[in-house]
């Protein structure tokens, strides 16, 4: 039973990881908690589903959906994410944290309605990619290969890919440098504007990729973004904002915790992510002087 629950938690956790790691990355580099992140997830899902349905309408083969997911994600990241960063966020770096948060809150409100106008309110789904991959049997129970194998695999690739990118490439190292010490990085001549834009696009694309992957298993309805954002907040905060491996662990914790709850305490499954988040934040000693210590006196 526990194993079965774990298998479900894996897929769920992987999906949350994809969204949360983008959020975490953006926070680490830009210092902005992006409330509109859930909207990128939702738009990614809608765009991917529309693309898959359109491709199916043209009689194109189903496997094409997988590259389409990637294309949709990048498209959403560049077009929507890029626009938000270049047009709005860029103007408020260095201003109060509250204002940055509220700008993304405003973007969230606008994008939520934009989704409805563009994609309508009727549930939309494109499950062909999930069915195309078939099912696998574990202890007499059928799982879709899509959820059991593909989604965790993508999450793993993203995790390893990000690690490689941030550690081994010049651009990635520049991003890490900015995360660790913004002023020093600027002083070393790192082009912050480019880094910020690029990071935001990566983060938004990852959220959109999460959305694209979920579009094959989930019926898309207005409001899917606002549930996801709180969940990814929980993961990012649990992990410590800006931590990639941490986000993976936290997402898995939340995914498994929720699955376990469905078995053992179904009344509490929705509480699990928040309880984990509260518990971790409380135990982690982020008290007064650990945060102020960085201040030179």
């Amino acid at each position: 039973m526990i194993l079965l629950a774990a298998l479900d938690g894996l897929a769920y956790g992987s999906l949350i990881f994809l969204v949360a790691v983008g959020l975490s990355l953006i926070f680490g580099v830009l210092g902005v908690l992006n409330v509109a992140h859930g909207s990128f997830y939702a738009i990614g899902a809608y765009v991917a589903a529309s693309a898959v349905l359109a491709a199916a309408g043209m009689g194109l083969p189903t496997w094409l959906a997988f590259p389409l997911f990637l294309v949709s994600a990048v498209l959403v990241g560049v077009v929507v994410g890029g626009t938000v960063e270049a047009l709005l966020l860029r103007r408020i770096y260095g201003k109060e944290e509250v204002l940055q948060l509220l700008v993304t809150f405003a973007v969230f409100m606008i994008l939520e309605d934009a989704q409805k106008v563009v994609f309508g309110t009727q549930p939309l789904f494109a499950n062909a990619p999930m069915n195309w991959l078939g099912t696998v049997e574990v202890f007499g129970i059928f799982y879709t290969s899509y959820q059991l194998i593909l989604i965790p695999l993508v999450a793993l690739v993203v995790l390893l890919g990000l690690r490689w990118f941030l550690r081994r490439t010049r651009f990635g190292r520049a991003i890490v440098a900015v995360t660790q010490d913004r002023e020093a990085a600027m002083a070393m001549g790192i082009d912050a504007t480019r880094i910020y834009l690029f990071t935001f696009i990566i983060g938004a694309s990852l959220a959109a990729l999460g959305g694209a992957l979920s579009s094959a298993t989930t019926s898309l309805t207005p409001g899917i973004g606002s549930g996801m954002i709180v969940l990814s907040f929980a993961v990012a905060a649990t992990a410590g904002l800006g931590r990639i491996e941490g986000a993976a662990v936290a997402a898995l914790m939340i995914g498994l915790g929720r699955s376990a709850a469905v078995y053992f305490a179904p009344e509490f499954d929705v509480l699990i992510p928040y309880l984990i988040m509260v518990a971790v934040l409380l135990i982690k000693p982020e008290g007064l002087f650990t945060t102020v210590q960085t201040r030179k006196v």
């Binding site: 948060l101 309605d113 009344e267 509260v278 982020e286």
Partner: protein, 315 residues
């Protein structure tokens, strides 16, 4: 300082007169005042540089206390329900505050969010107790022992709320100008120095947190009474975000700001509901962006002029 009073007085006169001109607006204005109270709580925290994305917790908690008490006929009286429910929220704030004042910035915001979401989930989940997502009805209580018809109840509730809001605003204004209020601002500008003055920034923030919880609780208690219904949505993070929205929209420069903001929020929402019923979120979002980029000191700042630039001496 006189400016603050001028704006407050102007707003007050407008509010006193308004329901007499347009009776249907009393409930909307009362709702605006309630949200203004919660946003006033946010303003207090913003002075310390802290933003809470979870004050829906206190708003909803007192609202549910009112709902449960009214349903159980425990003190079926406004003058009893409101103070008890507000105090209940204050009690929760006192408990949560014990550990939350150790956190700053994003962690402060996130922890507030997480706790309010726990409460929200519980309200939804404990169906048999809370009525789940559909919430609970709040039977209309008596006012000063009188059983009132809807219209007169709403009328009196509005003026009572207005009076409470004025008292709250004056108190907060006084508090912010007092040594405690300045110590609160000091948390934002230089917490290290505050500690080196021998002041416990946690204690200072604790007081402010308690106050903000009470203010949000007061707003929540009244909103439960005037709308006659409570739902978990009152504790949802988007609602908490709206309080921050209102505080920024109105401006954090003075205590009239949140009420100006709440009024404007209701006006925009009212217009949007009529002319763009399917996209009123977007209208609000655009409005928020306009304020942030073109009038960062909010409506209050627009009216009060460039207070900061001219310096505190000008007050």
């Amino acid at each position: 300082m006189s400016r603050q009073y001028l704006i407050g007085a102007g707003l007050l006169i407008a509010l006193v007169a308004f329901p007499l001109l347009s009776p249907w607006s009393t409930v909307i204005l009362t709702v605006a005042l309630c949200e203004g109270l919660a946003a006033l709580g946010i303003l207090v925290l913003l002075r310390a540089g802290q933003v809470s994305f979870g004050h829906g917790l206190y708003f909803a908690f007192s609202a549910y206390v009112v709902a449960f008490m009214a349903a159980a006929h425990l003190g079926h009286e406004v003058l009893l329900l409101v103070p008890i429910a507000t105090a209940a929220s204050g009690l929760v704030a006192a408990l949560v505050g014990l550990f939350i004042v150790r956190y700053r910035a994003i962690f402060f915001g996130m922890l507030n969010l997480a706790i309010s979401m726990v409460f929200f989930s519980l309200l939804e989940k404990l169906f048999s107790i809370t009525g789940g997502a559909d919430g609970k009805r709040v039977p209309r209580p008596t006012l000063l022992g009188m059983t009132l018809e809807r219209e007169s109840f709403e009328f009196w509730m509005f003026y009572i709320t207005l009076a409470l809001a004025v008292v709250a605003a004056l108190f907060v204004a006084r508090y912010l100008a007092s040594s405690g209020g300045k110590a609160l601002e000091a948390i934002k500008s230089n917490e290290t120095r505050l500690e080196y003055l021998g002041v416990s920034s946690r204690k200072v923030l604790y007081g402010a947190y308690l106050l903000s919880g009470l203010l949000a609780g007061l707003g929540g208690a009244i909103i439960a009474l005037v709308s006659g219904h409570v739902t978990p949505e009152l504790a949802y993070w988007v609602r908490s975000g709206e309080f921050v929205f209102i505080a920024i929209l109105g401006g954090v420069g003075g205590v009239a700001g949140p009420f100006l903001g709440a009024l404007m929020f209701q006006i925009i929402r009212g217009y949007a509901a009529v002319y763009a019923p399917e996209t009123w979120h977007a209208v609000l979002g655009i409005m928020l962006l306009v304020i942030i980029f073109f009038a960062p000191s909010g409506l209050y700042g627009l009216i009060a002029g460039r207070r900061r630039a001219s310096g505190e001496a000008a007050r």
